[in-house]
């Protein structure tokens, strides 16, 4: 058990030391939502001062971990001191039998920022909530930004044929950490409905 002051930036944001920028962004969103002053989840458990302290720690952790150079430097200095990065395994309790009995992961829902149905607007909202620029998606997926814009703005007449569109949607969904199959099905369904109208 560690106080917030003793936690690593990774522990503060509840991410693994190998977390990607996208995972850190999501964790930051979640942490901000959890520890804002009016959050029901902190009500009655933490004092105002404790919440403020956690908020500051979250901001600082996010600032450092999202900057490649700062993160590298933090990892070097911190893990040199404590003898290596913390792992998921090391935070687990010893003697797994009791743990196994009661460890029930959440079922039926992955912590997606948005669950659909996926349309262009939904995809844009997901992306914006994650703080990711369309340019970044374009760079990562090698999809022309004009096509991505058309996907988000639902300018269906400017979209490529179905076979290519499916491929683009798949890459786009993956880059946001969404279920590609679900995105493809729902986007195309919404496109077809629109065309009918």
């Amino acid at each position: 058990m560690k106080s917030i002051k003793d936690q690593t930036y990774y522990e503060i944001l509840e991410v693994s030391p190998t977390a990607t920028a996208k995972e850190i962004l999501r964790a930051y969103e979640h942490a901000k939502e959890t520890f804002h002053a009016d959050s029901m989840a902190v009500y009655s458990l933490f004092s105002e001062e404790e919440v403020e302290e956690i908020q500051k720690a979250i901001e600082e952790a996010f600032r450092v971990l999202m900057d490649e150079a700062l993160r590298r430097s933090y990892d070097q200095s911190h893990f040199q001191t404590v003898g290596g990065p913390p792992t998921e395994k090391s935070s687990e309790p010893p003697g797994g039998s009791k743990e196994k009995k009661t460890s029930l992961s959440f079922t039926g829902l992955s912590f997606n920022i948005e669950d659909g149905p996926y349309s262009g607007k939904t995809l844009r909202r997901v992306r914006e909530r994650m703080g990711i620029e369309l340019q970044t998606i374009s760079k990562e997926t090698k999809i022309n930004i004009k096509i991505l814009e058309s996907i988000e703005e639902e300018v269906f007449e400017k979209l490529p044929t179905l076979v290519y569109l499916k491929g683009f949607l798949k890459s786009y969904a993956r880059s946001l950490g969404l279920d590609p199959q679900k995105v493809i099905e729902e986007y195309i369904h919404s496109m077809e409905e629109s065309k009918k109208e």
Binding site: K2, P94, G95, L104
Partner: protein, 331 residues
Amino acid sequence: MWVFAKCKACLPQAGTKLVAYIRGIGVGQTQTSNRKMIWTIGGGKGGSGKSFITANIGICLAKLGDRVVLVDADLGGANLHTFLGISPPAFSLSDFIKKRVPHLREVLIPTAVPNLQLLTGAQDLLNAADSKNVQKKKLIRSIQSLDSHTILVDLGAGNSLSVLDFFLMSDGGILVVTPEPTSIENTYRFLKSAFYRRLRQSVSSSSVKDLIDSAMDRKNEMGIQNPHDLIKAVKRVDEGDAQRMIDETKIFHPNLILNQVRSKKDIEIGFSIRSACLKYFGIHLHYLGYVVYDQEVNNSIRRRRPLVLENPRSRAAQCVMEIASKLANSH
């Protein structure tokens, strides 16, 4: 509306089989293992849906082939039988406590669901609660020794020592919370009491026990504000006990069910509670699932017919089935 679609869409395989089984369309019984599991369902606040969830999960597990006993340990407000559509039974825990029957199994009541039995609560226990510790321990031992695969214990509201000890007797305590500040506040109070009681049971030094008792009051003179402060204070008194408390923290994994959720934001509160518990207590709370707000729940309660039997296709029933399948797979 999305939340309901999500709830259905994400039913895992086991949940789907369970739905099929309950509807009688040909999925065979799936016997898990012979290891007994005890789940205690609590959470501090009355009206959060503990009895509804206990009764309906119990039915789902029985339908899966588990031998299930439901224990109504709501001392003073026992009405689990009503959720099962049973009239107030002639036998209750009271008959066992008052030694009118020698063994707890003799007050087990069969239900209309095969494999499912009920132990109804007793008003008498309320008065006996904290004063007759020996009696309470005997009752807990007797419940634990019942011949059954799964025992679900429905606890009453409040933080009395009896409720806490029943909660802590299980392999997995389940907290049922609704996404409202009052419910969450009571649940935290309950969790804190249960957590500190468990820590207290793990230590040997009487001065450390006193320290834990004092820490329950946030205005304590030692300035102990949270479990982290407490462990620091205990370290100064007894290093061994401090280590035992840390070890206990690592293996204390209560579960959470969010009931009556109406939106995605509500569902996310479960994840936020999990994070808050990790920061405050240092414990890993498991978010087991959620049950959507559904008028069908009220309808089924009014008809005194369990939802998963009355309307298994309803959104809330599907959520319950999903949670039950998770519990079944934990054997």
